[in-house]
Symmetry: C2
Subunit: 195 residues, 2 copies
């Protein structure tokens, strides 16, 4: 039985992360991942029992880094809750300019696996998105927003909306529009006259 913290395992996950995010899980073979990691397929299969397992491990490895990145953008920005939320979108737009940017790995994997709702990787994705929503609700709650959970969910919908539509239009105007919509929704929960 392989070690959970093995450096070899980490090398494999890192290689899988680069390739799966760049090309999509269906377009990357296990052979390609092994070669990218600089070892043989047999070694990969010593550490992972199947490609499906490897895909789940890839997403699992992105959970905390993605969360910390978003929280960092939120915390680093000035202003009230509406400005902090808008800052997430502004930074997303900056990231989307990078030529290697290909949207959200969690959403793209879920789209590829839409016919297999119980796939382990989708469970990992569901957990990640819930983690983010929960963190955002907490961060909004601290700033005295009304119904922070409902608001967090609405913002999540806008974020995932622009992740997806950016892959179709490749036009950052959509991220800006999403940021403005999110700020409007935040303000609707600060000025309590709007339900």
């Amino acid at each position: 039985m392989p070690e959970a913290q093995s450096p070899t395992r980490k090398r494999i996950v890192d290689a899988a992360t680069r390739l799966f995010y760049a090309e999509g899980i269906g377009r990357v073979s296990v052979d390609a991942v092994a070669e990218e990691a600089g070892l043989t397929k047999r070694t990969l299969y010593y550490h992972f029992k199947s490609k499906d397992d490897l895909i789940a491990a890839y997403l699992d490895g992105r959970d905390q880094p993605n969360l910390k990145r978003m929280a960092g953008w939120f915390d680093a920005s000035e202003g009230g809750a509406d400005r902090k939320v808008e800052a997430i979108f502004a930074n997303l737009a900056k990231a989307a300019h990078h030529p290697k940017w290909k949207g959200c790995g969690f959403l793209r994997t879920a789209a590829e696996l839409a016919s297999m709702p119980g796939h382990p990787a989708i469970k990992v994705g569901s957990r990640h998105k819930s983690n983010f929503e929960t963190w955002l609700a907490g961060a909004l709650s601290v700033r005295g927003v009304e119904e922070p959970q409902a608001l967090a969910r609405e913002i999540v919908l806008l974020i995932d909306g622009c992740f997806s539509i950016m892959l179709i239009h490749r036009n950052p105007d959509y991220i800006e529009a999403a940021g403005r919509a999110a700020a409007t929704l935040v303000r609707a929960r600060i000025a309590s006259d709007q339900v």
Copy 2:
């Protein structure tokens, strides 16, 4: 040269539509499409020059039906612009209950082809999403909403957001939340005190 309106061609596109939507473009072979259509692969390649072409034809065939469906929901519902927009989400939630529902074929295809931004199928998807956004802006404009184009874009973001996140969580509460957020955004453009 094959005919553009050939009934055989239509049979192939119909078969491709069933399989590509159900399984995803990457998980369906050209052989499988040919078999589903009840003809040989060589015949399929007589009518389409490549699998990529066939994928684009699949999406192209979904453009008008999808548009008409959404417009039908909007037109059939009672009430002001906010209620009509909410009706789109309510009907989406109903559709999502069907066991064969697998989200939006355009978005899922774009996610699978994220590494090929110039792919013909992505262009078809981009056109379709623009068509919808333009139609919605017009429908909102007629009802005296302020900045109908900006509002239409925000609603599109929420629709595509719940299409995507539904594939991760499979929880219709997200569609309901998106519908409420959309109604809030519509009202913000009716009561002109909110910019």
